[in-house]
C-alpha cells in the first residue's frame, strides 16, 4: 500500500520492522468516505429563457461496491459538474452521476480515473439500524482530518427526505455536530446506519441503511425500479361516532381514504371512502400506525417502500360500504413530472413559449418558489390550484398553463400589466399542456389569436393580431434577450 495519497492514519515509518497494524475504524472510515462537490445552475423561472448564477454544493459521499459513491441529497438536481475529493485534500477529480432518483433522493457517482480509488474501500451498510445507543457522524472538512462528531440514536421512524413524498426508514440522531444534512455518514458500531439528509436544531435525520441497501440492489439490476408511493389522502378515525357509523368494531383500527390519485398505487383498486384496516398483513390503528417487527410503531406509508418495489402486489384488507374486502394494489412509482403541478423540475429548464410578447409557462413548484415564502405570497388562485389539484393530473389537462407575464410591445398594447392568469382556451381549443398551447397558436382565428382565461380572473380574454404577434418576435428578442424559441 503506497502511503502517500492514502488515508492511512498511522504511518509505520517509526517501526519499519513490524507488520502493518490492521486498519482502525478511523482508517476504514477515512477510506470509505469522500467529498463530492456539485456545481450547477438553476433557471430563472420568472424569466424562463435565462439561467441564474451558478452554485456549488459540497456533500459527503459513501464508497460502495462498484466501486461507486453513494450520496443522499436533494442537491444533485440541475448539476453541470461533479467533482470528488478524498482524504480531506483539495485535489479534485472529475466524476459523473451514473444514476439519480430525485424522489428518494439518492445518487450514484462514478469516477473514471482509476487512481482515485487507490486505497478506498466500501464500508459495510447495516442490515438493521439500532433504535438507541451511541452513533457517530462523519464528513471531511475542507482539509485535514476526518471530522467525526459524537451523537446518540434518538428514534427510528418513517420519514421524508429532501423534496420527496416517499416514506422511507429514517434514523434521527442527536449530535453535537455543527451544520449537517448534506449526506454525512452516520455510523454505529462499525457499520454505516445512515446518510444524513437534514438537520434541525441538534438533531440530524438520516436515511437509514436498509433503504440504501435496497437502492444499491435495485441499481445493480438490469433496470432501476425506484420506490413506490401510495398516492392517497386519508383521515384518522379517532372519533368513535365516525367509527361506529362506518361499521367498525371497537377492536378494529383503520384509516379512511379521502383521495386516491389517478397515477398512484391505489388507483383502479382503492376508492375514496374506503377504510384500510390492514396492509401487507399489518393491522393499522386509527391513526394509521402499524407495529413494525423491528422498530415498533411506524406510520403505514413505509409499507409501500420498505423491501418492495414498483410492480409488486401489496395485499390490503379494506372496509367498503360495510363489506370487508381483501384487495391487492399494484405498487407504482410516482414521479414528480406526473403531478399536475410538479413539486420540482430537474435536468430541464422551464417549458415556456412567447407569443407576441405574452409569456406562457406551465405551473410548477419552482415557479411558485420564485415568490420566496410562496405559500403566503403567491397569488391565491395559484395556491388554490396547488392545494386542490396539484397532485392530480387529468388525461385532458395534465398541466395548468399560465400567462405568467407580458413583455410590453406594440403588439400587446393594453395587456402589459397582466400576470399569472390561468389559461382556458387558445383559439377555441382547450389547453391542458404546453404542447396543446403551441398547437393551438398555429391556428389563429380570422387573423387573430384569441386567448381565453379561466373565469374570475383579471381578464377573461386577450386578442392579438396574429400577423403583428409574428412581427413582434424579432423586436422582443432584441429588447428582452429572449432567444428565438418554440
Amino acid at each position: 500500500m503506497i502511503l502517500s495519497g492514502c488515508a492511512s492514519a498511522s504511518p509505520p515509518a517509526t517501526r519499519p520492522n513490524t507488520l502493518p497494524s490492521p486498519p482502525t475504524l478511523k482508517d476504514r472510515l477515512a477510506a470509505g468516505i469522500v467529498t463530492v462537490r456539485v456545481t450547477g445552475q438553476e433557471w430563472n423561472w420568472k424569466t424562463p429563457w435565462a439561467k441564474q448564477g451558478p452554485w456549488t454544493r459540497t456533500m459527503t459521499g459513501l464508497v460502495v461496491p462498484g466501486p461507486r459513491i453513494l450520496v443522499a441529497s436533494a442537491g444533485l438536481g440541475n448539476h453541470l459538474l461533479i467533482e470528488v475529493q478524498r482524504d480531506g485534500r483539495e485535489q479534485r477529480t472529475p466524476a459523473r452521476l451514473a444514476l439519480v432518483d430525485h424522489e428518494a433522493p439518492l445518487g450514484l457517482i462514478e469516477v473514471g480515473e482509476p487512481a482515485f480509488w487507490q486505497g478506498l474501500a466500501p464500508l459495510p451498510l447495516a442490515e438493521r439500524v439500532p433504535t438507541s445507543g451511541p452513533a457517530t457522524i462523519h464528513r471531511w472538512p475542507r482539509s485535514g482530518q476526518l471530522d467525526s462528531a459524537s451523537g446518540a440514536v434518538r428514534l427510528v421512524r418513517a420519514g421524508r427526505h429532501g423534496l420527496s413524498r416517499l416514506s422511507l426508514l429514517t434514523v434521527d440522531v442527536t449530535t453535537t455536530m455543527e451544520g449537517g444534512g448534506d449526506s454525512e455518514v452516520v455510523v454505529a458500531g462499525d457499520e454505516v446506519i445512515g446518510l444524513a439528509t437534514g438537520k434541525s436544531g441538534d438533531q440530524v435525520g438520516a436515511m437509514a441503511s436498509p433503504v440504501l441497501r435496497q437502492f444499491l440492489a435495485d441499481a445493480a439490476g438490469k433496470s432501476y425500479h425506484g420506490f413506490a408511493r401510495a398516492g392517497i389522502g386519508w383521515q384518522d378515525l379517532t372519533n368513535p361516532d365516525l367509527r361506529a357509523a362506518l361499521g367498525l368494531t371497537r377492536a378494529e383500527g383503520g384509516i379512511r381514504l379521502t383521495r386516491v390519485l389517478p397515477h398512484g398505487s391505489g388507483a383502479d383498486v382503492l376508492r375514496p371512502g374506503d377504510v384500510i384496516l390492514e396492509i401487507g398483513g399489518y393491522a393499522l390503528d386509527p391513526t394509521g400506525q402499524f407495529e413494525h417487527p423491528l422498530y415498533g410503531r411506524m406510520s403505514f406509508p413505509l409499507l409501500f417502500t420498505e423491501g418492495r418495489e414498483p410492480g409488486d402486489a401489496l395485499p390490503m384488507k379494506v372496509l367498503r360500504d360495510g363489506q370487508h374486502l381483501t384487495v391487492a394494489v399494484t405498487l407504482r412509482r410516482m414521479q414528480a413530472q406526473d403531478d399536475r403541478i410538479p413539486p420540482y423540475v430537474f435536468e430541464r429548464g422551464p417549458d415556456y413559449t412567447v407569443v407576441g410578447g405574452l409569456v406562457f409557462q406551465d405551473l410548477t413548484g419552482p415557479y411558485l418558489s420564485t415568490w420566496g415564502d410562496w405559500s403566503r405570497r403567491a397569488p391565491p388562485r395559484l395556491l388554490v390550484a396547488y392545494d386542490r389539484e396539484g397532485q392530480e393530473p387529468s388525461p385532458e389537462r395534465p398541466r395548468i398553463i399560465l400567462l405568467t407575464s407580458v413583455l410590453p410591445d406594440p403588439a400587446n398594447l393594453g395587456y402589459q400589466d397582466q400576470r399569472d392568469l390561468i389559461v382556458d382556451t387558445v383559439n377555441g381549443k382547450r389547453v391542458g399542456s404546453m404542447d396543446d398551447l403551441r398547437q393551438a397558436f398555429r391556428e389563429p382565428q380570422r387573423g387573430f389569436h384569441v386567448v381565453e382565461f379561466v373565469p374570475g380572473q383579471a381578464m377573461r380574454r386577450i386578442v392579438l393580431d396574429a400577423a403583428q404577434a409574428q412581427a413582434a418576435a424579432g423586436r422582443i428578442r432584441v429588447a428582452y434577450g429572449v432567444p428565438a424559441g418554440p
Binding site: R259, F304, D387, N412, A458, M459
Partner: protein, 415 residues
C-alpha cells in the same frame, strides 16, 4: 380692570372663526368590534372621534365608518360643553355615509342646518371643517379641488363612487365633516392616503344626495350595480376583432352577474359603447355632458368627470380617517345593497343581436359613479397581487383571526 382687559384681549385673539359654521359637531363613538374567528366574542370597547354636520330635519350627517360597531354615539356642539346622546338613524356602508338624530331638542336650538351644494369646479377653493385629533373648537383647513374622479371607498372595500381629491388637509378626526364652498356643503370628508402629501378625499354631493333620498322612506336600499365585469379595449387588435369601427370606443363585457341589472340584456362579448347616450371610451371612462342625476346639476369641467375602469384597483389602500391611525383590517359587518332591476327603459334591438350596439343603455346608478363598479362576489379579480398582498398584510396586522394563513401542510394527510 387690567385683568379683564387682558382676558378680553386673549379672548379676542383666540375667538373662533366667525365664518366657521356652528353646525359642525364632534362625533364621539364608543364601539365594540366583533371577533370573526371567535364569533361569540366582542372586543373591548374603544373610543374614536369623528365629525358631523347638521342638515335639515335635525339630522347629523357623518361617515358610516365613524359609527361602525358603535355602542354609544355622542355629539357635541363646539359652543357647548355637554355632549348629547345620538341615535344612528341610517347607515350606507356602500357609500360610507350615516345619519344621526338627537332626541334632545336643545341640541339643535340655535343651530342652522348647512345648505347643500353641488360638485365644485376643479381648481376652485374649498374649506373643510371638523375635529382632527378631536379638540374643542372646530378646526378648518383650506385647499383647492385637485381632481374629481371615481375611486374605491375603503370602508366597504368593494364599492367605488365619485370622490373629490383636495389638498385641503384631511386628517384622522375629520371624517364626516363638511367640505364647503361659498357657504354650501360640497362634500363629506372621509379618507386619505397616509404618506402621500396633501391628498385628501371627500364624498361629493351626488353620492350624498343619493343616500339622503334613499333613506327618505326609512329604508336604505343602496346603489345599484351594473353587474358587469368588463375589460377595456386598449388593444387595437381586440377592437378590430370585436368589429368596433375605427374611432369608436367601448369596453367588452367579460361577465354578466346572474340576476343582476344587465342579466338577460347584455351578454359576454358585447361591447358597451355608450351609457345613457354618453359614449364610453376604450379605457372605460365617460365624459359627461348634461347630467342625469338625482337632483344634482352637474356640469362638465375642463377635465371631464371620468370613471376609472373597474378592474384597476388602487395600488395603495386608502385609509378611512379616525382618531386611531392604524388600519385595523377588514370590518366585520357588511351591508350589501340588493341589486336594482333596470329602472330606466332600455333601447330596443338588444336581445336579438350579439355584438356592439349603438346606444346600449345600462341604467346609471343614481347619483353615483357612472359606468361600472366592481361587482360583488364572483366578479373579476380586482386586486392584483401587490394589492392583495398588502391587504393580506393588513389583515394579519389587524385581526389575526380573520384570515387563516394558507398552510398546505395542514390541508389533510397525504402520502
Amino acid at each position: 380692570m387690567i385683568l379683564a382687559a387682558l382676558g378680553l384681549a386673549v379672548a379676542a385673539a383666540a375667538a373662533p372663526d366667525p365664518q366657521a359654521p356652528q353646525s359642525v359637531v364632534l362625533v364621539q363613538v364608543y364601539r365594540s368590534r366583533y371577533d370573526w374567528s371567535l364569533p361569540w366574542r366582542q372586543e373591548a370597547v374603544e373610543g374614536s372621534l369623528g365629525s358631523g354636520f347638521l342638515i335639515e330635519g335635525g339630522r347629523v350627517v357623518t361617515n358610516a365608518h365613524v359609527v361602525a360597531d358603535a355602542r354609544e354615539v355622542l355629539v357635541r356642539r363646539p359652543d357647548q360643553a355637554n355632549p348629547y346622546v345620538a341615535t344612528v338613524e341610517a347607515v350606507g356602508n356602500d357609500c360610507d355615509l350615516a345619519v344621526l338624530s338627537v332626541s334632545d331638542p336643545a341640541f339643535t336650538r340655535g343651530l342652522k342646518p348647512l345648505p347643500l351644494g353641488d360638485v365644485p369646479r376643479s381648481g376652485s377653493r374649498v374649506q373643510t371643517y371638523g375635529f382632527p385629533l378631536g379638540g374643542q373648537d372646530v378646526s378648518s383647513t383650506a385647499g383647492i379641488v385637485s381632481r374629481v374622479e371615481s375611486r374605491g371607498y375603503v370602508h366597504s372595500g368593494i364599492d367605488a363612487h365619485l370622490v373629490v381629491q383636495t389638498d385641503a388637509a384631511i386628517n384622522p378626526g375629520n371624517s364626516g365633516g363638511p367640505v364647503m364652498q361659498e357657504g354650501r356643503v360640497v362634500g363629506v370628508a372621509f379618507q386619505g392616503y397616509p404618506g402621500f402629501d396633501n391628498m385628501g378625499f371627500f364624498i361629493p354631493m351626488p353620492v350624498v344626495r343619493h343616500f339622503l333620498a334613499d333613506i327618505h322612506d326609512g329604508q336604505y336600499t343602496g346603489f345599484p350595480d351594473s353587474g358587469l365585469q368588463t375589460t377595456p379595449l386598449l388593444s387595437p387588435s381586440y377592437r378590430r376583432e370585436r368589429g368596433l369601427p375605427e374611432g369608436k370606443g367601448g369596453v367588452v363585457v367579460d361577465f354578466v352577474a346572474p340576476g343582476g341589472t344587465a342579466d338577460g340584456v347584455v351578454e359576454p362579448g358585447d361591447v358597451i359603447v355608450a351609457v345613457e347616450g354618453v359614449p364610453v371610451a376604450n379605457d372605460g371612462t365617460i365624459g359627461l355632458g348634461a347630467r342625469v342625476d338625482h337632483g344634482v346639476a352637474w356640469r362638465p369641467r375642463a377635465d371631464p368627470h371620468r370613471d376609472l375602469p373597474p378592474h384597476r384597483a388602487p395600488r395603495e389602500q386608502a385609509q378611512p380617517l379616525r382618531s386611531r391611525p392604524a388600519l385595523r383590517g377588514l370590518r366585520g359587518a357588511r351591508v350589501h345593497a340588493p341589486r336594482h332591476r333596470a329602472a330606466q327603459d332600455l333601447r330596443p334591438g338588444l336581445a336579438a343581436d350579439r355584438g356592439p350596439q349603438p346606444g346600449l343603455a345600462s341604467p346609471l346608478p343614481r347619483g353615483g359613479a357612472a359606468g361600472d363598479r366592481r361587482p360583488r362576489g364572483g366578479g373579476p379579480d380586482p386586486c392584483p397581487a401587490p394589492c392583495r398582498e398588502r391587504a393580506a398584510d393588513l389583515r394579519r396586522a389587524g385581526r389575526g383571526g380573520a384570515h387563516q394563513r394558507h398552510d398546505p401542510a395542514r390541508a389533510g394527510r397525504r402520502g
